[in-house]
């Protein structure tokens, strides 16, 4: 690990100002950042620990939604009675991720910002445009079973590994932030994560020093909410693909997919096709997909997983 200095922030705007300086980074639970710092893929020179900023509460919003503080742990969010009752999709996705002891430390903001699990990103002997811009992509000609099938670029085919974020995408969550000038803004989750394009190292639309304060969920939308995670082990493994769906009694609904793209993947035309069945909706979701030989299986896997989810919803 490279040497760094450490501070515990007492004020959000001061924290944002400190984080805007080159080499500085926020520290929340630490479960992703410290992991990457140990292998020097992340090498911040200053850490701003945000645990004392008071963003650890879950509160109702005036329009009937729920505001989840950036520092609420994944365990506390998944266990909250309001989340379980009104947004069961979010509880389901969150408890499908990581392990019990990791979820006790992992936070809302840290989970959204966790970095890819592309094996080449982790291997400093391999080229990787995300780790070292301009160095090339080891995964493109390499072993790409886990990697993206849609929305990828010539520069990067990594996926976003979060389960929680896929549910938040289906639920139309909004990311709330404050910047070093003290200005706040609300970023719809659809616009929060970026596609890799030519700059896979830039993963979100956050600006320098911008601090996430909360994620808000709009008014509950009911329906049958199902998160189906397909993985190589029954527990404690990242998704190969995952499907987050909210299905209403008339068969209409919405769907977001994980494990297929650089961001939680949702397409308007797929939502519109939900009542026509899994084949139609999955076809829209993955239209224009460019899988590799190793991960072409994800295309039928998404359709079959969605078909299973729809069958469960009909039986519910």
């Amino acid at each position: 690990m490279k040497a760094f200095t450490y501070e515990r922030a007492k004020d959000p705007v001061a924290a944002a100002r400190a984080a805007a300086r080159p080499g500085a980074k926020f520290l929340a639970g630490g479960t992703n950042l410290l992991d990457l710092m140990k292998i020097e893929i992340e090498a911040p020179t200053h850490l701003i620990d945000v645990q004392d900023l008071g963003f650890d509460k879950i509160e109702p919003t005036p329009d009937g939604g729920l505001r989840i503080g950036a520092l609420v742990t994944n365990t506390a969010m998944a266990a909250d009675q309001r989340v379980r009752r009104d947004y069961p999709l979010l509880t389901r996705a969150t408890v499908a991720g990581a392990s019990g002891q990791l979820r006790n430390k992992a936070t809302t903001a840290g989970n959204l910002l966790q970095r890819t699990r592309c094996p080449y990103f982790y291997d400093p002997n391999m080229p990787c445009n995300k780790r070292k811009p301009g160095s090339g992509c080891g995964a493109l000609g390499g072993y790409s079973r886990q990697l993206a099938v849609v929305g990828s670029s010539e520069a990067c085919i990594a996926t976003h590994p979060s389960d929680m974020a896929v549910a938040m995408r289906a639920l139309d969550a909004v990311v709330e932030t404050v910047n070093p000038q003290g200005r706040t803004r609300a970023i719809p989750i659809a616009e929060f994560h970026r596609l890799p394009g030519d700059t896979p190292h830039i993963e979100t639309t956050l600006t320098a020093g911008e601090l996430i304060t909360a994620v808000t969920l709009p008014k509950p939308i009911g329906g049958t909410q199902i998160y189906e995670k397909v993985r190589d082990r029954a527990s404690y493994a990242f998704a190969v693909v995952s499907v987050a769906a909210v299905i209403q009694s008339d068969g209409s609904g919405r769907v977001a997919v994980g494990g297929v793209a650089h961001k939680p993947w949702r397409v308007d035309a797929a939502d519109a096709a939900m009542s026509r069945g899994a084949k139609a909706a999955a076809g829209e979701l993955l239209a224009g997909a460019k899988p590799t030989q190793d991960n072409a299986f994800k295309i039928p896997l998404v359709e079959r997983t969605l078909a299973g989810v729809m069958a469960q919803a009909r039986a519910a």
Binding site: M1, A3, F4, T5, Y6, R8, L27, G29, G30, T31, L34, D35, K38, L47, D49, Q51, T75, A78, A79, R84, R85, P88, T91, R92, V95, A96, A98, S99, G100, Q101, L102, N104, K105, S235, Y236
Partner: protein
């Protein structure tokens, strides 16, 4: 207190630290290879309680909670396995919740209450979970065991608190102590010897349930 470079701290052998009045044996040379090989960095102070005892340490900020426990406080019961949050050998209980001590900086734990395997019970006065692991052969080589036991204690507490899990059929209900639940909730603790079934039996006995 003036900033001391880590190597100087080591050279002194023992350092009295003001906060909490605790006297703490400092790092032996082998315990801080990064400081030796990469040059001095400023050290920082942290105070927390470990197994009921106040501790104040002056550390390189890079020190994880795991390394603080093992290398600085010489509580070597907590084990370093993968050092990347994947195996669970480093699991300890912080403010009542189990966490991976390898993926946490010691400095993040100012004021925290930390319980390690040494604090759960002693050889003469075992914690019920330790006794159950012995009775049910919940280990073979024993390396992952301190983490397994801390995690197991945390799991039963999480079930008591009603924290939901992936295998629950209905998350609007309180979870039950079933074999499936125990296995799912313990999946962050890997056992190379494969003592999983016996661990689940030990846990079920402590929970007063049939696994």
């Amino acid at each position: 207190m003036p900033e001391l470079p880590e190597f100087e701290t080591s050279r002194r052998g023992v350092l009295a630290v003001g906060a909490g009045g605790a006297v703490v044996a400092s790092t032996p040379a082998i315990a801080a290879p990064s400081a030796v090989t990469r040059g001095a960095v400023p050290s920082s102070q942290v105070a927390f309680r470990v197994n009921g005892k106040a501790q104040a340490l002056r550390l390189d900020p890079r020190t994880t909670l795991l390394d603080a426990l093992r290398e600085h406080l010489h509580l070597t019961g907590t084990k370093k396995g993968c050092d990347h949050g994947q195996c669970g050998a480093c699991t300890v209980i912080v403010n009542g919740q189990r966490i991976n001590s390898c993926l946490s900086l010691a400095l993040q734990h100012e004021g925290d209450e930390i319980t390690t395997i040494e604090g759960l019970g002693t050889p003469d006065n075992l914690h019920p979970m330790q006794a159950a692991f012995v009775k049910h052969d919940g280990f073979q080589c024993g390396y992952c065991t301190p983490g397994q036991i801390c995690s197991a204690v945390g799991v039963l507490d999480e079930i008591r608190q009603g924290i939901p899990s992936h295998v629950q059929a209905d998350i609007s209900q309180a979870p039950q102590v079933t074999n499936m639940e125990l296995r799912e909730r313990m999946s962050g603790n890997i056992c190379r010897c494969g003592a999983y079934s016996n661990i689940a039996e030990a846990m079920a006995e402590v929970a007063g349930a049939k696994a």
